[in-house]
Symmetry: C2
Subunit: 337 residues, 2 copies
């Protein structure tokens, strides 16, 4: 059976195809009786508007694209659980608003705008990632120049083009460090890249340093070790710290995966947590609740984040001004510190 079109319905209903189109979209212009008749027939025929045709004509797609960009050095098998969680909440937020969501891991192309908005596949883009933000900045500048509608998860607009929804990383970093300091720890190490290549980590580090300062402690370079987004990186960084011989009684990790890797290194080294070394994370991924001991961390509300991202993008597409916004993080105290 061939697919029904609006002309088939028009014929059966004894009205014009224009009227069918109007009736199906609940236009107030159409007589209620006519509308009901048309909708009844459409239902009987299992009719659905052809999205390609309607999008082509109306020049919008009611579809958003989620682009997950990652560090290309990643082996590709495991996605950071934090982003997977964001993906889940964004999918839900789109569905709630009647939008479809196109998902892509855009390693391949370096022209997101062209690939999605120019080809009319999506009305706007949501960017999510943990790649190198220095490379990334160029792309954002290009996107903005082309007038693409996009929002980004991450840091505010001082550092990168465009609007962003993000966690208040400075506040989060400060809060958990204060918590560690309150336990009487004095020599705090920070595991995570502290540079504009990873601005979210950098902000957390700045919050970390601010808390130290409150306690009259100067941040020590030797206690900060670079590490990116993975358990392996956390393991390596902790090893490096241990091998360096610098004394420390606590580790603040820039993310939970780093903390998990660091805990493994500490245990291999015969150190117990938190007796010898306190450990703190950031993100509150599912695993944080199950490490031994369970990891104290900073929770980012991914559900709320997904909603804000989708709302901001929709506002932008509608031509409204969109402000970057920060979500308040929440301290989660468990047993690791």
């Amino acid at each position: 059976m061939k697919k029904a079109t609006s002309f088939d319905i028009a014929y059966l209903a004894g009205v014009s195809q224009s009227t069918v189109s109007r009736a199906l979209r609940n236009s107030p212009l159409v007589n209620q009786e006519t509308r009901e008749k048309v909708q009844k027939i459409a239902k009987e025929l299992n009719y659905k508007v052809d999205k390609n045709a309607s999008n082509l004509r109306s020049q919008h797609s009611d579809t958003l694209a989620l682009l997950l960009f990652e560090d290309p050095t990643d082996d590709g098998s495991a996605i950071n659980p934090f982003f997977l969680s964001m993906l889940g909440s964004i999918t839900r937020a789109c569905a709630d608003r009647g939008y479809d969501l196109l998902v892509s891991f855009q390693q391949a192309s370096n022209d997101w705008h062209a690939d999605f908005e120019d080809s009319n596949k999506a009305d706007g883009l949501i960017l999510l990632g943990y790649g190198d933000y220095v490379d990334f900045a160029e792309k954002l500048t290009k996107l903005s120049a082309q007038g693409t509608h996009y929002v980004r998860w991450g840091v505010g607009e001082d550092q990168l083009k465009g609007s962003a929804i993000g966690c208040d990383n400075f506040a989060g970093g400060k809060e958990i460090t204060q918590h560690v300091l309150k336990q009487g720890r004095k020599k705090l190490a920070f595991l995570g890249t502290a540079s504009s290549h990873a601005p979210e980590f950098f902000d957390r580090y700045k919050g970390h340093c601010a808390a130290l300062k409150e306690y009259g402690i100067n941040a020590d370079n030797k206690l900060q070790i670079n590490a990116l987004y993975t358990e392996e990186a956390g393991y390596d960084a902790a090893k490096k710290l241990l091998d360096s011989g610098v004394e420390f009684d606590a580790i603040c990790a820039a993310c939970d995966l780093i903390a998990v890797g660091a805990m493994r290194a500490l245990k291999e080294h015969g150190l117990s947590i938190p007796e010898n070394v306190a450990v703190a994370g950031f993100d509150d991924i599912a695993v944080a609740n199950f490490t031994s001991p369970p990891l104290s961390t900073v929770k980012q509300d991914t559900k709320r984040a997904g909603e804000l991202l989708v709302e901001a993008l929709l506002d932008m597409i509608a031509g409204k001004a969109v402000e970057s916004r920060l979500i308040e993080p929440q301290l989660i105290v468990r047993q690791s510190c």
Copy 2:
């Protein structure tokens, strides 16, 4: 600046719009020199084919839809990490093959076919879920009747319409139960719904019983407690088991989340794992490596699964016959049994 169309390029290249269209799709019909000239101009203009127009004309979308159906009783906040992992691998598999992926949690509608394939948004559907399979069976029958292209993650075709890629749940359930029995355990409980409402769990249970039989043990009804897909359900089921007073020295959980919940209940009850009770899971989610003690389980290869699902669907769309296939699960021994 208005978006460039193929007519703009045709004008600049001094050829017809038809030729532009051919040149852009690398048609062998077009002179190489002409093709290069056209492609150069297209690049300069930042031109991208309008997907809505080309899809409308050619009647296919190069897009696949992933439908995640869940138990509506779920609170909606947390998606089972196993499915999130599948989602990641499916996204990658689609990208590798030049397809876009539309993601949807189809709670709202009950007419997937109409929503995606009839509206020409997608060429085919991938179904992934943990809802009630009895309700689900009707939908599948309808999908098949309408000639929709779809593949499903889960159990083979005996029980449900359509082709499926799934884990060999029987073999996995049998293997891990054998492992538990080898440790000398005699009174094994099974936590997970054993009925056609949850056929994957049912198959795991059947494997479980087969292993018991090999060891001369008859499955005892009182040692099987229903539970669905969540940590909470696992906790409740273990409580129920404990309260029933039936003796047991091991728990085989139908999935890791159930195992995690059960471990919590056992500990609250003052029982130690594995000394008093051995615990086994199924799925190998990230958390399994971090429970205390780390959970022995059965790993499902989600990367391979995603690839097979996408390949099968593409074959089906291309008109090839597609067989249901099972992936071999892999026993992962940690410390919980």
